[in-house]
Symmetry: C2
Subunit: 339 residues, 2 copies
């Protein structure tokens, strides 16, 4: 018996690895010391991180958005989703992203699909000034079907603790601003797959399903890639305008904002209009409001906490920022003001 008999194509893997190395090289900063393919990826950090350099690392996956993408063979945004999930977490600490590694498991290694996904990762990393220094391509025949993929990522950044963001910097009277998300990013997809099982069946058979009011197909809105908040958060951090930031992922806005509130501080969140995709999901799945709020970003994917004096500068830099409320001492956690 040989590897091909076991459903593993070494030739496809070799072709993919060569292509990955080529794509990754485009993202290399001069600090990357080894080419892809060594036993470890080396990254020179001399001079970074101030007097007490601190590494910040994050890991995340894109969940089963991969399955929704597979239904219509719309994999091209998954790499951007992956980078957003990891790096948008990382920058909420005040850290600067340095490098990234990906883990891609497939039922069968399809070099064209590998390229598409890794290109998407690389393009997103270029936007956040991080290098794709390594990764693992795994073939899992018999566990995943051909076309099925699992995608996870790891990001490392560096922080000067004197410039860290978080609960320790939040003060009474700080303003709370939201950065808009027109789509679901990469959260809640097991729920979405259950609600839209029939739509996904239609898409698999070549139909497009219903449209939104803006003319986009609902399916296209579901697979739309995430906004990358990192460039905005980094620029505001470097300008010294922020006290804290919270990336809205699983758990929703309240649970994630709670993570950067000092004990005994709270905020009442004003309502904002949900993008249409969320009203569709709530309606089509008869999803309770509480579940919508704890599962989806509902149109706000990143929350910023800033001193009131910084508000005009932030609004000038990000005119679409949504005014969500004000931090108050002696208020219990995050509360929703109903519309």
């Amino acid at each position: 018996m040989n590897y091909d008999d076991a459903g593993v194509s070494l030739a496809a893997a070799d072709a993919s690895v060569a292509r990955i190395a080529q794509i990754a090289r485009r993202t290399f900063s001069p600090r990357v010391l080894t080419p892809i393919g060594g036993f470890g990826a080396a990254f020179d950090i001399s001079g970074l991180g101030g007097q007490r350099p601190t590494l910040v690392s994050t890991t995340d996956g894109v969940g089963t958005k991969t399955e929704v993408a597979r239904a219509g063979a719309r994999y091209e945004g998954l790499g951007r989703d992956l980078v957003a999930m990891c790096v948008d977490d990382l920058v909420t600490t005040g850290a600067q992203p340095l490098f990234f590694l990906d883990y891609l498991a497939m039922g069968a290694v399809d070099p064209a699909l590998v390229s598409l996904i890794v290109e998407s990762i690389a393009t997103a990393l270029l936007e956040v000034n991080a290098s794709l220094v390594g990764g693992e391509l795994a073939e899992h025949p018999g566990v995943l079907e051909p076309g099925q993929v699992d995608l996870a990522g790891f990001a490392v950044g560096i922080l000067d603790p004197d410039q860290s963001l978080g609960a320790h910097r939040v003060e009474n009277g700080d303003v709370v601003l939201g950065l808009p998300s027109p789509n679901v990013r990469a959260n809640g997809f097991s729920l979405i797959r259950a609600i839209y099982a029939e739509l996904l069946e239609q898409v698999r058979s070549g139909r497009r399903g219903p449209s939104l009011a803006d003319g986009r197909f609902l399916y296209d809105a579901l697979v739309e890639p995430s906004v990358l908040y990192t460039p905005t958060v980094r620029a505001l951090t470097e300008a010294g305008l922020l006290h804290a930031a919270a990336h809205v992922t699983g758990g929703g806005l309240a649970a994630n904002l709670q993570r950067v509130l000092p004990p005994d501080y709270g905020v009442a969140i004003r309502p904002w209009p949900w993008p249409e995709i969320f009203t569709h999901i709530a309606h089509d799945g008869d999803v309770p409001l509480t579940t919508m709020r704890t599962t989806f970003n509902l149109g706000v994917g990143m929350v910023l906490v800033a001193p009131p004096a910084a508000k005009p500068a932030i609004q000038a830099a990000v005119p679409t920022a949504i005014d969500l409320g004000v931090i108050e001492r002696s208020r219990e956690g995050v509360e929703w003001i109903d519309a």
Copy 2:
């Protein structure tokens, strides 16, 4: 519709995350600055890495050894395998492991199984002085079956470039020594699953299958966890005894040793006796010798390259080291001497 209707158990996930945090805390070095659960894991690296501190990162998975483990519900070694795959790669560069993050995807979050796997990761990390600073637990209902898991990891270490190992340090006359591996570690499992499909069916139905000459069941030998070479390699590195090291994973000994040979240097590898598990696999699967050599470690999981003067000290520290050959200038790559 709600999350439970979609096959996602938030209660099971919450219970698991609390348990993971508890287990991980045991591994924390004083340099870990944030508890598990923040947006990013912070690790203080001040004073590490010499004048030009360089980070080394690796990522790997355990492949479909997970499926072989599932057949007999023998998951308890997978965490050790994962740490070995990542950290034994990392130390071949001369780096010191600092921290680790894991990615665990499951068909259904089973808190007892999560604990078992994370405990195994944590125990292995304690042996290599690395902290489990974060991870992602993903539930993929409908993609993975209950009991099916996918496991990947990510390790970061720090290197003082003045103490790096690799091809740039290898010289004519250096000795090549192998550290023994009694089992397959976590490579070649798609081939193993194809060869032993019937055995795995038997194991699933509660039978144990054939035994090896040493009395162990063949199945038990297949799921046996990897040797962790990191403590040995780190001790030899810190004693200044090594020029290079190669972790024998996919591609086998020759391809991995080749990665640390300078151009126009080579070595003729002497034969050594294969552990019985490999002769079984070759026989039961009628696997060609070339495939055995490019797929499995065949009993040597780590190769060390050292100056001849260091050989007695290495053999004193590791009496089981196998004498494999001598580096020669003007020899083409790695060649096998047939038994």
